[in-house]
């Protein structure tokens, strides 16, 4: 198992190298180069020359790349053009929000998806089954930003049940230790702050969780339909086990194998930034920072964020593979 993890981590190196070259080349290939991008179109030639000198842009490209790489491994991606903060500290300020949002969205998708998928399979061909199949088809096809706007319009603007923007009400004077706002509220025993942060997660979380939910319903349903016809389920019934034991130990446990893969992949996707949803709900996570950086031409931040997110994505996938080994003993011993 350890060798497997180490091998996967080593595989990360060429992926990141390739990605960094792409990002680096992309930044150099901008019309007018980084200087023009940073200083604007009306920058004087002298300012551009100064800028190039200051940032070492006159050196050969490979020297620039190696220097960039050297700093990157120390988690130094330069400073954000917009805030003047280091890109790394910007990331750690923003990422907790995205993690909270992802966890909420996945909790929603899993909590609703697996029981619904199971129920659909149990009532195969019945009303619940047909409704869930059609519903999940709708779920995957509705554009997320549209659903996000719709949810915001109905539940935040019209009904006013839930907050429709931000991560926390600005009027709450909350102490932030970890930047996980819900967690912070719990740690500092500021219950109202924690609750408020949680309510801020609901609408973006539901919008974001819809596609994973739809996929989980479908995969659970298909997996359960497969598993209930397996010989070992018949064996379990032949042993006279209680229906709950048959369901939990013999049906669901095996049906969850393919579902767990989906859950992992979807979590990785959501973690790497829900640009559209975070933008609609003005949610201060990684996604909205990315959008902001694009419109601000904040290339250092874009470059840094994308590289870090790539690492996160690969690590989450590694976690999925490792957990798959825990769930399925047949994978473990191979």
């Amino acid at each position: 198992m350890l060798r497997f993890i180490v091998r996967r981590l080593l595989q990360l190196i060429p992926i990141l190298l390739g990605l960094s070259i792409l990002l680096f080349a992309w930044l150099r290939a901008l019309p007018g180069g980084p200087a023009l991008a940073a200083l604007g179109e009306r920058a004087t030639p002298q300012r551009i020359a100064e800028y190039n000198e200051a940032f070492g842009l006159n050196e050969p490209v490979y020297v620039q790349y190696l220097k960039f790489l050297g700093r990157a491994v120390q988690l130094d991606f330069g400073t954000s053009a917009r805030t003047g903060q280091s890109v790394t500290s910007e990331f750690f300020l923003r990422f907790p929000g995205t993690i909270e949002l992802t966890l909420f969205a996945m909790a929603f998708a899993i909590g609703v998806g697996i029981p619904l998928g199971y129920l659909a399979a149990k009532k195969h061909g019945g009303f619940v089954d047909n409704a869930s199949v059609i519903g999940s088809l709708l779920g995957v096809t509705i554009p997320v930003f549209f659903l996000a706007y719709l949810l915001r319009l109905v539940f935040a603007v019209e009904l006013g049940w839930l907050p429709g923007s931000g991560r926390q009400d600005v009027r709450i004077d909350a102490t932030h230790i970890t930047n996980f706002y819900v967690l912070d509220g719990l740690l500092t025993r500021e219950w109202d702050a924690a609750w408020d942060a949680l309510t801020h997660l609901v609408l973006p979380g539901v919008a974001l969780g819809t596609i994973p939910l739809a996929i989980i319903v479908r995969i659970t349903r298909a997996a359960v339909l497969d598993v209930v016809n397996e010989d070992y389920v018949r064996t379990a019934n032949a042993k006279g086990l209680a229906t709950t034991t048959v369901r939990n130990r013999h049906v669901v446990r095996n049906a969850l194998l393919p579902v767990s893969t989906t859950i992992g992949l979807q979590t990785g996707l959501l973690l790497s930034g829900a640009v559209l949803t975070e933008t609609v709900f003005a949610f201060g996570g990684v996604g909205s920072a990315l959008r902001q950086a694009i419109s601000d031409r904040d290339y250092a931040l874009l470059q840094g964020f994308i590289l870090i997110l790539a690492v996160v994505y690969v690590l989450v996938n590694l976690l999925v593979d490792v957990s798959y080994g825990l769930l399925d003993p047949r994978v473990r011993t191979r």
Binding site: A238, G240, N254
Partner: protein, 344 residues
């Protein structure tokens, strides 16, 4: 048991069992068509026939393991006098694993791949004997030991894929025997195993059943299994029993042409090299409905016109044929024809 017939209350009585599969948009199929048999304590009864003759469906119907949707079961199945058909799910779950148990054909797919052998054994003990923790584990080690699994304590923590095929079947037998059931149904328990392992498993089953008074129903297409194990044999064809006899009688004097055909299609060591086997003509699909005549008639070498209902005016019935034998045939084999086609 064979030979002397002591009148005993049977453990299992199956009477006029009919199983009809009905799928939407398809004509119904009668997989089991009026099957009756009984198994006494300590007796081993074989249900023999080709694939699709209804023997497995008979066993699943007995255990109440057929899917509910699209399946109609009628007749009567009694375990120690208690009617099982129409019994509630709860009642059946209490009986299954405790009073009646089953061993299946493919040991690998019959075991849950994600659960250890230990849990799969102890869950039976927990469900029916209320055993938990160390007591259950100790009993599980005992059970695995009894079915001849070496180093049983270590096996408890292992998963099915870590065991060999024979070992898996032994584990399944251990689970089936965990509560010393009154009835054990073994559905082709050796089909998926190597020949050497087959013999070991059969021997194990015989040893375990002998003396314990467990009634064993052996479902098989393999006459070798029958010869080694069964006291009484029911030969099935197209959902009906066509011949019933004591094992020795059946092998010595097959009366139904189908039984004769089965016996002749078994390779024998004492026949000369190059002697061709005599298979039964056609396949199990070449049948006619029993309502039209003997279902085996299209494949039968000795069939006559009156095997058909339109000629004789009545269906071929299962009738007593001397001693404890029963036969469903109008033109049974005679001593002269019993060896016809057999390697001499």
């Amino acid at each position: 048991m064979s030979g002397v017939q002591v009148p005993q209350t049977p453990v299992l009585e199956v009477e006029d069992l009919r199983v009809r599969f009905q799928r939407r948009g398809e004509p119904a199929t009668l997989a089991v068509d009026g099957v009756s048999f009984a198994v006494a304590p300590g007796e081993t009864v074989g249900l023999v026939g080709e694939s699709g003759c209804g023997k497995s469906v008979t066993s699943l119907a007995t255990m109440g393991l057929l899917p509910k949707r699209g399946v109609q079961v009628s007749g009567s199945v009694r375990l120690d006098g208690q009617e099982l058909l129409g019994a509630g799910d709860r009642t059946l779950r209490r009986l299954r694993g405790k009073d009646m148990a089953m061993v299946f054909q493919d040991p690998l797919s019959s075991l849950n791949p994600t659960v250890t052998i230990g849990v799969q054994v102890t869950e039976v003990l927990a469900a029916h004997r209320g055993m938990k923790g160390d007591a259950a584990r100790t009993e599980a080690v005992d059970l695995l030991d009894r079915v001849g699994i070496p180093d049983p304590r270590r096996r408890l923590g292992e998963y099915p894929h870590q065991l060999s095929g024979g070992m898996r079947q032994r584990a399944l037998i251990a689970m089936a025997l965990a509560c010393s059931p009154r009835l054990l149904i073994a559905d082709e328990p050796t089909t998926a195993l190597d020949v050497t392992i087959q013999a070991q498993i059969l021997e194990l089953l015989r040893d375990l059943v002998q003396g314990s008074g467990t009634a064993l129903v052996m479902i098989t297409h393999d006459l070798g299994v029958v010869a080694g194990l069964c006291d009484r044999v029911h030969v099935m064809y197209a959902g009906r029993i066509i011949e019933t006899a004591e094992r020795r009688d059946l092998f010595a004097r097959p009366r139904h042409p189908y039984t004769g055909g089965l016996l002749h299609s078994v390779p024998r060591l004492d026949s000369g090299r190059g002697t061709p086997l005599t298979p039964i003509r056609g396949s199990a699909r070449d049948t006619i409905p029993w309502a039209q005549g003997c279902a085996f008639a299209p494949r039968c070498d000795v069939a006559e016109d009156d095997c058909l209902v339109e000629v004789s005016g009545s269906e071929v019935e299962l009738v007593p044929d001397g001693g404890t034998r029963e036969l469903r045939c109008r033109h049974p084999l005679t001593p002269a024809t019993q060896t016809a086609g057999a390697p001499s």
